[in-house]
């Protein structure tokens, strides 16, 4: 399971403030804490209020890379901000993200090819987020086909069914979980799958429990990565245990400890 740490995002108040005030220690601690907790990739997002996202992306990456050589997921809707990041990363990056719109895919897959990056593909297009799994699969297949046109392997794609809050779109969760299973069958080798996990619990009272339960169900349906809060220890423990039950790792009494030594 590839854990993409979600905490370096300008949308969070402390990070937004750190970006404005150039408090590099705040960012660096967040990076180190997430890696220590098991994140193998860190999402980097300058947030919606960044006045100069290109410069902010550059500043974030430079400061993270001063303390960690972890891979980064460059999270922006703007291709030029992503490209700024791609020029700086030390390890192979993930672009977060493209959707199934033709122009967007052309631009993002072009960058992925140029900089040898992996890509998160959102199963949505300009008409919005689908409300059934059939449409999600159709859009995911469009993304896979386009990636192949660019010579990008399916294993370098992370297909995201778009998780919706359970208190807003309760009927969607089953569709989303089934989509994850179907995405894995789109081609061989199978594409990776991912979710922006915390979205499922948005606005609910028991966020951690909802996240944890959804994650375990998604893992059982073939999820191979997730953007989540790695500092939620119970969440990561549940994920490790789910993978254990699916026989992805060999059991031993200290299996949580063993997983974290990987």
């Amino acid at each position: 399971m590839i854990i993409i740490g979600e905490l370096i995002n300008g949308m969070f108040k402390d990070v937004g403030r750190a970006i404005v005030n150039k408090e590099s220690d705040v960012i660096q601690h967040l990076a180190q804490d997430q890696v220590r907790a098991g994140a193998t990739v860190l999402d980097v997002n300058t947030g919606p209020y960044s006045k100069n996202p290109k410069d902010d992306m550059k500043w974030l990456i430079e400061n993270i890379q001063k303390v960690s050589d972890v891979a980064l997921a460059l999270d922006s809707t703007k291709a030029d901000v992503i490209e700024e990041g791609l020029k700086l990363v030390k390890k192979r990056a993930i672009i977060n993200s493209t959707n199934a719109d033709e122009a967007k895919m052309e631009s993002i897959f072009g960058l992925a090819k140029k900089y040898n990056a992996q890509v998160i593909g959102l199963a949505m297009d300009k008409s919005g987020v689908p409300n059934n799994k059939e449409r999600r699969i159709e859009l995911a297949a469009t993304i896979v086909a386009k990636a192949m046109d660019f010579g990008i392997s399916a294993e370098d794609l992370f297909l995201d069914p778009i998780v919706l809050p359970v208190n807003v779109a309760q009927a969607q969760s089953r569709e989303i979980l089934e989509s994850i299973r179907e995405f894995r069958l789109l081609c061989d080798p199978a594409p990776n799958t991912t979710v922006g996990l915390s979205n499922v619990s948005q606005g609910t009272k028991c966020r951690s429990l909802v996240n944890r339960t959804f994650l375990v169900m998604a893992v059982a349906n073939g999820l191979t990565s997730a953007i989540l809060d790695p500092l939620d220890k119970e969440l990561v423990d549940a994920m490790i245990t789910a993978e254990l039950i699916l026989n992805k790792n060999i059991y031993c009494d200290s299996f949580l400890d063993a997983y974290r030594k990987r």
Binding site: N249, I250, Y251, C252, D253, S254, D257, A258, K261, R262
Partner: protein, 309 residues
């Protein structure tokens, strides 16, 4: 129509463990990135090695088929060691400290240390040192043995799930590598490795003993455990990425097929078990009969011909 072979490439390697005096007699085991001898899938940078086993006292319960091959030297451990190295070309020696076991006379730690020092004085090969199998005696003797051999970078055993702390601490202090044993159980194998590494022991200095069984006595089960551990290691399970040691001689020469028939049948039994274990992924075999050791070295050399340099 040609059939294309399915090739599995893996990103992770088995740890490389160095045994023996650094810059001197040291040898390396492990480091492979493929299942045994499948060179089209990966590499085996270090060939599997054969250690010859001796005791620190006369082996009263070994069959004549082995004792007769060595002759009188079995009464003098350092002469025995020398015969293995100079007479039979052993590159590694495994010294089992049987004499400290209550059933073998419970001899003193001082005597054991002096025997080991005389062996080190006579031969210049890496040493594998095994306790007697009696936990209480071994926990008393092994720390002093480890200390006396400081700098020799030995491979010392045996640590188990319920008795690993003393040995791990002493090996850590004196710079030796350690053998972690599990009772044909992959879950316990992983657990012992974690317990030892949790003590601050470098996982790259642990060698696993998955338990040895002889041909005809459940060898297939050991084979399957080794194979499963290897496949897990190749997809990133660091707590199973240790080289394997197997005590083939010890198990084979207990069987009635080896003991109670002709010497040649015993030797062949030891060779057959050894070959199967090499094919299961063994990195180090401990062998008792010199003829079996010689044949297994030849077999390994033959199998390594396809290895990429």
């Amino acid at each position: 129509m040609s059939v294309e072979l399915v090739k599995e490439k893996c990103a992770w390697a088995i740890n490389t463990v160095e045994i023996g005096r650094p810059g001197g007699s040291a040898v390396k085991i492990g480091g492979e990135t493929c299942m045994p001898f499948l060179y089209h899938e990966g590499t085996m940078p270090n060939k599997p090695l054969i250690a010859m086993e001796i005791l620190d006292c006369e082996p009263t319960d070994w069959p004549d088929a082995i004792k007769n091959t060595y002759g009188d030297v079995v009464r003098d451990p350092s002469a025995w060691a020398e015969k293995c190295v100079k007479g039979f070309g052993a590159n590694i020696l495994c010294v089992r400290l049987a004499s400290v076991h209550p059933d073998y006379g419970a001899r003193s730690t001082d005597r054991v240390v002096s025997v080991l020092k005389s062996i080190v004085g006579r031969v210049n090969v890496p040493l594998v040192i095994l306790g007697s199998g009696d936990d209480e005696r071994d926990n008393d003797v092994m720390p002093k043995v480890s200390q006396a051999l400081k700098g020799e970078n030995c491979l010392i055993g045996i640590a188990t799930q319920n008795n690993h702390k003393t040995l791990a601490a002493t090996c850590l202090a004196d710079g030796h590598s350690i053998i972690a044993e599990s009772p044909i159980d992959i879950n316990i194998a992983k657990q012992v490795n974690i317990l030892i590494s949790d003590m601050g022991f470098d996982p790259a200095r642990i060698v696993m003993h998955p338990t040895t069984t002889s041909l005809g006595y459940g060898m297939e089960y050991v084979y399957s455990i080794m194979e499963r551990a290897r496949l897990a290691a190749f997809i990133g399970d660091k707590m199973l990425a240790m080289p394997f040691v197997l005590f083939v001689g010890q198990e084979v020469w207990k069987t009635k097929e080896a003991k109670e028939s002709s010497a040649i049948q015993g030797v062949n039994w030891e060779i057959s078990t050894g070959v199967a274990m090499l094919q299961a992924g063994a990195d180090l075999l401990v062998i008792r009969h010199p003829d079996a050791a010689r044949s297994l070295v030849k077999y390994i050399d033959e199998m390594m011909k396809g290895a990429k340099s």
